[in-house]
């Protein structure tokens, strides 16, 4: 039997919960429920929904595909090299997303370091296109995958690697049959956080990919525009975003965090 928590701790916990839930609940009070369907079936909303879901899912997959190898590598590094690599990778988590978007322009823009080469070779332009949205989303989502997965990999007892090796496992077998399955919860959590971060991404997207309805306007951007022109629509889209997030949270809860 665990004893009760001190009254002060319980009060503060209540304050924390109230602080987070109050804005969400007040939002629900203002939603024009009767006109919800009409508001959400407008072209602006359906376009934004499609762009948001596609770009965030593709970004999450890309973040996993690139982040897991980097996490595997980083978990074996030590010393200054690992500190520097980790600092660079974590930077997009801390950076104001607008700065990230500007940096993306300098790298992947029409005249950017990488972007100019890509354009010359393939004719592909990232800015103001859906590929730009995906790029911006991946940029901000990747660090979450790397940090989550690397932490889990580092927590694995290194003797598991020794055990697998004495049993004749080559590096590929050790990686795919032992290490990655052992961090499966972290892979799922990393992918999920990456997707959630991409779905909510605003600053880097608007800076790098612009805000073109039907091409690069995602749900958060649509909310931003609607807030100035049509408050009811903004509320309706907000409810949509909250609903998507809640459905995913609830359906993933068993696998993402332990449920007693």
């Amino acid at each position: 039997m665990i004893g009760r928590l001190p009254i002060g701790v319980r009060l503060l916990a209540l304050v924390a919960f109230g602080f987070v839930s109050a804005p969400l609940i007040s939002l629900l009070f203002r939603v024009p429920w009767t006109r919800l369907v009409t508001l959400l079936t407008r072209d602006t909303v359906t376009d934004a929904l499609l762009i948001s879901l596609t770009s965030s899912l593709v970004a999450a997959v890309l973040a996993l595909a690139l982040g897991i190898p980097l996490a595997l590598h980083l978990s074996r590094m030590s010393g200054v090299a690992s500190s520097i690599t980790r600092a660079v990778i974590v930077l997009p988590m801390i950076l104001p997303p607008v700065v990230g978007g500007a940096a993306l322009l300098f790298a992947f823009g029409r005249n950017g370091l990488v972007g100019s080469v890509v354009f010359d070779v393939t004719g592909l332009l990232f800015p103001y296109s859906i590929s730009g949205v995906v790029l911006a989303n991946t940029f901000v989502a990747l660090p979450f995958v790397v940090i989550t997965v690397e932490g889990a990999l580092r927590a694995i007892d290194p003797r598991y690697g020794l055990a697998a090796t004495t049993l004749g496992a080559k590096p590929s077998r050790l990686t795919f049959r032992v290490l990655l399955p052992m961090v499966r919860p972290a892979l799922m959590a990393g992918g999920f956080i990456a997707w959630a971060r991409a779905l909510g991404e605003f600053g880097a997207t608007i800076t790098f990919a612009g805000n073109i309805q039907g091409r690069t306007q995602t749900l958060p951007l649509a909310v931003f525009v609607a807030l100035e022109t049509d408050r009811e629509a903004a509320l309706a889209i907000s409810v949509l975003l909250i609903s998507i997030s809640l459905i995913v949270l609830v359906s993933l809860r068993d696998r993402w965090w332990p449920v007693r």
């Binding site: 020794l162 697998a164 399955p181």
Partner: protein, 353 residues
């Protein structure tokens, strides 16, 4: 002693790890089980890791079945994966996301061999279970099965029974012995427990502070301890004194005679409790090594009485419970303690800091 074709492992491991300076030479014959014993921090696990190639040698060599893994002047060190050495960890270290069967098959090439080890180690009922559902004893049986299924030339076991309760220990020990005999592989088993060492091993290597103090049969080590740690482990009486030719003078003035001669300097004296005789009357003549002592306590275990005595010498004597009854040994009783000079073992003190 043996022809070289019977030799499985020939290794000299020299390395520094923290404060520990390890310098061990170990030979294992084909089919032989060698136990590695020693106090905590003596370098037992370090030795296993070095043999596996997980820790680099500073100097020395490792040869297994005429294959050279590491040797002076050899640039290429054989990687762990190609050494054909099995490893069983203290906590089993089964892959938690795989069932017992998937664990056992992890390194196996032959299904027939998997079936064999499953049979020998009696794990058939456990095959569909995950490691989190297994008891400590079951875990170790599966861990040994996993290791043997890869058909190693030699198995290294690091305290495989340490986490088991006493009952599971006896069962697991018997299964391990059978499995090691059937696999015909050699084995090096690190253990704290003399019972494990004596039940499983043909020879025992005692490692103290990175150095080998014994490498001999269990009987030799039991009857001829050379170090304080082994003497304590076997329950021997240990005294310290200064030797002059064939006798040792203890700090309290008591003198112990030995059958040896030419001794000098600080010396450790070891006397087996079973070599101590007790009499109610002073022995006739003037025998050396007899002292009048007082009984401090008597413990009866399975017909054997361990009598602790105090006097010129604080000493334990093992006599039969019947003899203890006949002598009427009760606490406070005076009696004579005698030890034959030929039963007194000595060891220069310098080897035992």
């Amino acid at each position: 002693m043996n022809s070289s074709s019977d030799l499985l492992l020939d290794a000299r491991v020299v390395l520094q790890r923290g404060d520990l300076k390890l310098d061990v030479e170990v030979l294992v014959q084909k089919g032989e089980t060698v136990a590695v014993m020693g106090p905590n921090g003596a370098g037992k696990t370090t030795l296993l890791y070095a043999l596996l190639g997980w820790l680099p040698l500073q100097s020395g060599w490792i040869l297994l079945d005429d294959e050279t893994f590491e040797a002076p002047g050899q640039d290429q060190v054989t990687p762990t994966r190609e050494r054909n050495l099995g490893m069983v960890f203290q906590d089993g270290l089964l892959f938690p996301h795989l069932t017992a069967l998937e664990n056992i098959k992890f390194g196996a090439d032959s299904q027939a061999y998997v079936d064999d080890v499953v049979e020998t180690l009696n794990v058939k009922a456990l095959l569909d279970m995950y490691p989190s559902e297994l008891s400590a004893g079951q875990t170790q049986r599966v861990a040994l099965a996993r290791s043997l299924a890869a058909q190693p030339k030699m198995v290294l076991l690091d305290e495989p029974l340490a986490l088991l309760d006493i009952r599971a220990r006896v069962d697991a020990r018997n299964l391990i012995r059978t499995a090691l005999q059937e696999s015909l592989a050699g084995a090096l088993i690190v253990t704290h427990d003399p019972a494990d060492a004596f039940a499983l091993a043909q020879r025992v290597l005692v490692l103290e502070d990175g150095q080998v103090t014994h490498f001999d049969t269990p009987d030799q080590i039991r009857s001829q301890p050379k170090s304080r740690w082994v003497a304590d482990l076997m329950g021997w009486n240990v005294f310290y004194g200064v030797a002059h030719s064939s006798s040792i003078l203890l700090a309290n003035g008591t003198e112990i005679a030995t059958a040896e001669s030419g001794l000098a300097g600080d010396t450790m004296v070891m006397i087996s409790p079973s070599a101590v005789s007790l009499f109610l009357e002073a022995p006739g003549g003037s025998p050396r090594n007899s002292w009048q002592c007082r009984v401090q306590g008597v413990q009866n275990i399975d017909g054997l009485a361990r009598v602790s005595l105090d006097g010129p010498l604080s000493i334990y004597a093992d006599i039969t419970s019947n003899a203890a009854d006949e002598l009427g040994l009760t606490i406070g009783r005076e009696c004579w303690v005698t030890v034959k000079a030929t039963e007194v073992r000595t060891q220069p003190r310098s080897t035992d800091p």
